[in-house]
Amino acid sequence: MSATPETAPAPSGAGAGPLLAVENLRVGFATEDGRVQAVDGVNFELEPGEVLAIVGESGSGKSVTAQTIIGLTRSPNSHIEGSVRLSGDELTTKSERELQKVRGSKIAMIFQDPMTSLNPVYTVGKQIVEAIRAHDSSIGRSSAREQAVELLGAVGIPDAERRVNDYPHEFSGGMRQRAMIAMGLALEPSVLIADEPTTALDVTIQAQILHLIQDLNRSRGLATILITHDLGVVAEVADRVLVMYGGKVVEQGTLDDIFYDPQHPYTWGLLGSLTRLDQPRPHRLPQISGAPPSLLNLPKGCAFRPRCPHEFGKCKEVPGLDPRLPEDPNHRDRCWLEPEQKRKLREIEGRIGLEEPT
């Protein structure tokens, strides 16, 4: 599934190798309460035209991973290890000025919270115009404004010609997010990092945005890192999936690996708690008990242990992110159970799910 679609053009960075390679990325923060290892060893590669989904609960390190790729977590209290290469070019050692250029042209990021990234005192239109002109100063104000209207229309803002003059507070929550996406697309990037871009959106706009991203993936070979906690969204657009928990990747594989042969009990829990319109509704939604762990106080051994109904003696040791299925070296997970046991345990009333501890 990691194959590049036929229509995608070759990567621009001439040489061989992936468009984006993240190796052994670790990000720690010194906080008042102690050191937080927000990201603890993330590895992946991304090819043009490909969509990589990162899923996991809040605090699992998804946003910090994404922000670190474009150098937004650098600060006196952060400690970053590992490597991020864009077309072979190392980003972690670049100066802030060089990085700004990368952010302004090659990698665009759409943030989770549209309210904090839109400036309340300028109209939405003005902000998009500024983004367009910051990217390409040869574009005049009036044609930038035309582009802004077009982009707003493309992301599904009705009556864009008029609403381009609105201030952010005059938009509904969903409309603000669409405005953010329009701004990200204005840069025509080669990598798009979208951090929960559709979480605040209703389904029709979500579908439009996802199709928009997919179109860009195919037509321009745009590579996308899509951060989300919605597995429905993942199923629609992703090629490969990373499942994060407590700063670590706990399972990594193709879309079909994750949905049809999931190896980690946390992944089973995520899949089990989904509501589905195409199936009869269960009396109660199967839930994962407890709450995500605090990074200040991660459980010893497997981080999922306190919430896992299947834990056993060996779980006191940290499981590595290893290929555990002999037939599939690219499907990796961090769970000590034997593949045979896993296939039995994840089956609940004919569906994949996580048994509730009694």
Partner: protein, 288 residues
Amino acid sequence: MSDVGSTSTAGGPLLEVTDLVKHFPIKSGLLIDREVDQVRAVDGISFSVNKGETLGLVGESGSGKSTACRAVLQLLKPTSGSVKFEGQEIAGLSRRELRPLRREMQMIFQDPYASLNPRKRVGQIVGDQLKIQKVASGKALRTRVEELLERVGLSPEHYNRFPHEFSGGQRQRIGIARALALGPKLVFCDEPVSALDVSIQAQIVNLLDDLQDEMGLTYVFVAHDIGVVRHISDRIAVMNHGKIVETGEADQVCEHPRDAYTKKLLAAVPIPDPRESRARRERAGTTG
């Protein structure tokens, strides 16, 4: 489009909304604000909710769901229309006249971060209304708040903590405890789980379900996740451009939608099953 409850109980509906309208003026002009037009956020909706029932409200962003909830609750002054709670007209009542009704009708908000005062302790947040409405004070107040905290899955020891010490799911539980403090009959839940993690969403939905059974609550439940709305609702109303375009039994609306807009809305719901969603894309691709 009023759909007097299919599961209607003897005493008539708990809430009856008729031709409710809420328009916002659009102003323009640099020096003098002139009203040039209106946003028809809610444009004449009618629905009823029976006791013990959950009415789901779905629709695209900007379709007027939040505005509708706020106008029904009189948190926004309706432009026109009638809102009857237990048969009594409440549209147009003064703040003072509304006060006793605040005990009966409550709201749980989408954003568990913004909706809790960061400077107040959990005990105060949950207990404030009990105190203001003079329902309890002193030791009885504390006991009541501790009971509520336990009931929503928190612990009595959380009484003296501040909101920032809690996760999103826990904050939403605080919001629920606050909404339930006065023993309301009707609770508006405006996207109560949208900001939460999937695993926590299921916990909160199950909690709301249990509380409804135990306390005989009636819900109006807004969410953009139609799967969640269908799960929790008896009936669903679909909103588009400030109007209700379809109302019906939850399963009926999801499985056999009548309205074209509802069909479009349902077709856009992602199927969390890659093979199914590929098949659907192919079907859509071959038919047009």
